[in-house]
């Protein structure tokens, strides 16, 4: 086949221009693919480092002790009066635990390797005595009976069974000796030290540097939950009301334009700025307590509001005008049209936006720095509403403060806390996706 100019073009063999266009497409595919690959690689590195460091935080080695709770030592008067019993401090309970540990080793025929009683106690967490004391004070009837008690192993011993501490490193370690680790190994061989799922990591409060093994996320999870409740209760109604007004009722003029621009700008303001505002307004001016979830919740509300307003307006906008016209046409008032027809149709979008906003607020730590939530909080906050005013920590903040601690066991816990935080975020995002898939209507 030939045309007027004499060029021969075959439909079967591509010419140079076609080849060049195909090559350009292939190149673009490759670039796109490598961009996706790079993203996946980054995710893989992040996940593997977090999971590699943190999964072991969900395991804990412990020793099951059988402890005779001697009345002579714990309650001399024999009256089971909690005030009198409280005079026996953790030191007294520590001695009971030490005796029980020695008895157990003798009975099982485990050679202690000539370790002194103090070194034997070094195998157990310092939390054990405090735990036991709390249990006895909570239930004075236990005195005089013999109880089995799960004592956590010391952080270094725990690290030894997880491969973080070796006999080699223990030689240079001032806090544990290779002899102690060898004894721990013998105890494990005899079945006296067992590894189990670490529920206490999820329920215990924070702990000091002396007992990293007992540090947990209990207070942080409660604090985060309290803040999320406040954020939800405040930002959803305020955000939806503002969006409905701006989208459906407000006249379109210079002022509403100005408000719109401001909302869009607020959504992009760095979160630390909200923290500074909160410190000045809520703590210094209104006199709200430091480190309290109520202040954290209010800051995060301010931060989440623009996100929710933008999402809500977008989903209100996506409801076709015909729905409003039809409602108005059959005699509905503007309010009825909005609340009976437009809002229900926009609800899946609003909920998705809200959940995504909440997820962002949950992972936020910068504004909490300034309002005193990056703190060592050991007591659980009370039940709401009083609990909103009690000091508490939050999940991202707990990660931050654990990474600053000297004991290497806290690094493992920090990664563990990241895993918990990521699970929460994953759940919230999954709920958002499901809501959207299930209920979203397309026109």
């Amino acid at each position: 086949m030939s045309d007027a100019t004499g060029h021969v073009t075959s439909l079967l063999a591509p010419d140079a221009r076609t080849k060049a266009r195909n090559a350009a497409e292939r190149r673009f595919r490759m670039i796109g693919l490598s961009a996706v690959g790079l993203g996946l690689l980054a995710l893989l590195v992040l996940l593997s480092s977090v999971l590699g460091n943190g999964l072991s935080a969900f395991q804990q080695t412990s020793v099951a002790l059988t402890i005779p709770l001697d009345e002579k030592k714990l309650d001399k008067s024999g009256k089971r009066d909690p005030a009198a019993m409280a005079k026996v401090t953790t030191v007294g309970y520590g001695k009971l635990i030490q005796e029980a540990l020695q008895d157990m080793l003798d009975q099982a025929g485990v050679d202690t390797g000539g370790l002194k009683p103090k070194e034997l106690m070094g195998l157990l967490s310092k939390e054990a005595a405090a735990d036991l004391r709390e249990r006895v004070l909570a239930d004075p009837a236990l005195v005089g009976t013999t109880q089995t008690f799960e004592a956590m192993a010391n952080g270094r011993v725990d690290g030894y069974f997880k491969g973080r501490v070796t006999l080699e490193s223990a030689k240079r370690d001032a806090n544990i000796s290779p002899e102690q680790l060898e004894l721990a190994q013998r105890m494990a061989d005899a079945g006296l030290i067992v590894t189990s799922f670490n529920w206490k990591f999820l329920t215990n409060p924070d702990a000091s540097e002396l007992r990293p093994e007992s540090a947990g996320l209990g207070v942080a999870i409660l604090g985060s939950a309290y803040m999320m409740v406040i954020v939800l209760v405040l930002s959803l109604p305020i955000g939806v009301a503002a969006s409905i007004y701006l989208e459906e009722l407000a006249p379109k003029n210079r002022w509403t334009d100005l408000i719109e621009i401001n909302i869009a700008n607020l959504a992009a303001v760095p979160s630390i700025v909200f923290g500074i505002l909160a410190l000045a307004l809520f703590i210094n001016f209104l006199g709200l307590p430091q480190s309290a979830p109520v202040v954290g919740g209010l800051v995060l509300t301010l931060m989440t509001l623009p996100t929710i307003i933008i999402a809500t307006r977008a989903s209100l906008k996506s409801v076709p005008q015909g729905v409003r016209d039809a409602a108005l046409g059959v005699g509905a008032s503007k309010m009825q049209a909005i609340f009976h027809h437009v809002l229900p149709l926009a609800m899946p979008g609003i909920l998705t936006g809200t959940i995504l906003g909440l997820a962002r607020a949950l992972g936020e730590s910068a504004p909490l720095l300034l309002i005193g939530m990056v703190a060592f909080v050991k007591d659980y906050p009370a039940a709401p509403p009083e609990g909103f005013f009690d000091p508490a920590s939050a999940l991202p903040v707990q990660v931050y403060s654990w990474t600053q601690r000297a004991d290497p066991a806290f690094a493992e816990r920090a990664s563990g806390a990241i895993i918990v935080l990521m699970l929460f975020l994953l759940t919230m995002n999954a709920v958002a996706i499901i809501l959207r898939r299930r209920f979203e209507r397309r026109w």
């Binding site: 409280a86 401090t89 953790t90 405090a130 004391r133 709390e134 501490v165 490193s169 223990a170 240079r172 370690d173 001032a174 806090n175 702990a207 000091s208 540097e209 002396l210 406040i230 209760v233 405040l234 959803l236 109604p237 305020i238 939806v240 009301a241 809520f282 703590i283 210094n284 209104l286 006199g287 709200l288 307590p289 430091q290 480190s291 109520v294 005193g372 990056v374 703190a375 060592f376 909080v377 050991k378 007591d379 509403p385 009083e386 909103f388 005013f389 009690d390 000091p391 403060s401 990474t403 600053q404 601690r405 000297a406 004991d407 290497p408 690094a411």
Partner: protein, 350 residues
């Protein structure tokens, strides 16, 4: 309607907030060096007393003192931890806001150590070595010259032939102040650079000249051999692990908890330990303080008990929990305990 209800309840929360109930937990903030000690005491206090566990915040010595001086009342903190002494400007600020009665409590001493990665070379340093390695200008043949030392062996032939790289605390840390005064200034004087700075200074009187010379001695080289670390000791440790030939500055207690990763350097021939710091043989140490708002004693429950417990023998005595963790006990602890019992307010700074 529901929207209205929600908004009303939201406003109710805000209103209730204004009249928040009395605070029953202690609030402590300040130095990140004192933070681990304070959390240990707070934990033991919460367990063994009928009071709630105090809330302990970090944030730095200066920030803690500033918070203490914000005023008197339930929404201000009760105790500021500090790794350096309170400044006259803090006291003035406190007085302006009505905080007139401050108790100064010295809880013990902290050693500052130089350490390298555990399988690195041994270092036996003197303040002079450190100044010659890290100072911006050094005295050479009777004149000041820009520091050109490349390797530790250039500074002192006895030191290993390794490139000079040191991670020192950033200027916002209390630790830096001690490093400046006890190491750089000492080295600067020994080297002779101090006298040269003094001679070249243009200050109005002797006092101003001395200040200028000292400030010049504190300048570190900016060619990358000396790196300021603004984060915590954990960051310094991570940097050391990435640069095994470098040297880092740590607190004694941090080192004691990471002896499997760090090798400590001697300073002027003395190995740092709780004993050598408390005997005064090891030169680089500093006191740690707690500043207590006396006006809160009797108002915030447990404050007096907390500070008494903090300075008790069980905590900071020679066999106490904090001493085992790495705090250097104060030989004059008995006097401190008596002052706490009598609620003695600090006098003007000398």
């Amino acid at each position: 309607m529901t929207v209205l209800k929600f908004t009303v309840s939201a406003l109710a929360v805000l209103a209730a907030a204004g009249a928040a109930e009395a605070r029953d937990n202690l609030q402590v903030a300040g130095s990140s060096t004192v933070l681990p000690y304070a959390t240990i005491v707070a934990e033991a206090f919460g367990e063994n007393f009928d009071f709630p566990t105090p809330v302990v915040e970090g944030g730095g010595s200066g920030a803690g003192r500033k918070k203490l001086c914000e005023g008197v009342g339930e929404n201000t903190i009760d105790v500021a931890n500090s790794s350096s002494r309170i400044k006259q400007s803090d006291i003035d600020e406190c007085a302006k806001n009505g905080v007139t009665d401050i108790m100064e409590i010295r809880i013990g001493y902290d050693g500052i150590v130089f350490a390298s990665a555990v399988d690195g070379a041994d270092f036996a340093l003197t303040p002079s070595d450190v100044f010659l390695a890290l100072g911006k200008n050094v005295a050479k043949d009777g004149a000041l010259a820009a520091n050109a030392a490349k390797q530790w062996s250039d500074v002192n032939a006895a030191l290993p032939a390794q490139d000079i790289l040191a991670f020192i605390p950033g200027t916002k840390h209390g630790t830096r102040e001690v490093f400046d005064l006890k190491v750089l200034l000492e080295g600067c004087k020994a080297n002779g650079a101090y006298d040269l700075y003094l001679a070249a200074s243009t200050g109005a009187d002797d006092e101003a000249k001395k200040k200028e010379a000292e400030a010049a001695c504190f300048e570190t080289r900016t060619d990358g051999a000396s790196v300021d670390i603004d984060g915590d000791y954990t960051e310094t440790l991570a940097r050391l692990e990435a640069n095994p030939t470098a040297i880092g500055v740590f607190g004694l207690s941090f080192y004691e908890n990471n002896t499997d990763k760090l090798k400590v350097a001697t300073v002027s021939g003395v190995t740092p330990s709780v004993e050598t710091v408390s005997s005064g043989e090891y030169p680089v140490s500093r006191p740690l303080f707690m500043y207590v708002k006396k006006q809160h004693i009797g108002v915030i429950p447990g404050l007096k008990e907390y500070i008494e417990f903090f300075v008790s023998d069980d905590m900071v005595g020679p066999e106490g929990e904090l001493t085992q963790y790495g705090l250097v006990p104060d030989p004059e602890l008995a006097a401190t305990q008596a002052a706490v019992a009598a609620e003695t307010v600090m006098g003007p700074l000398e």
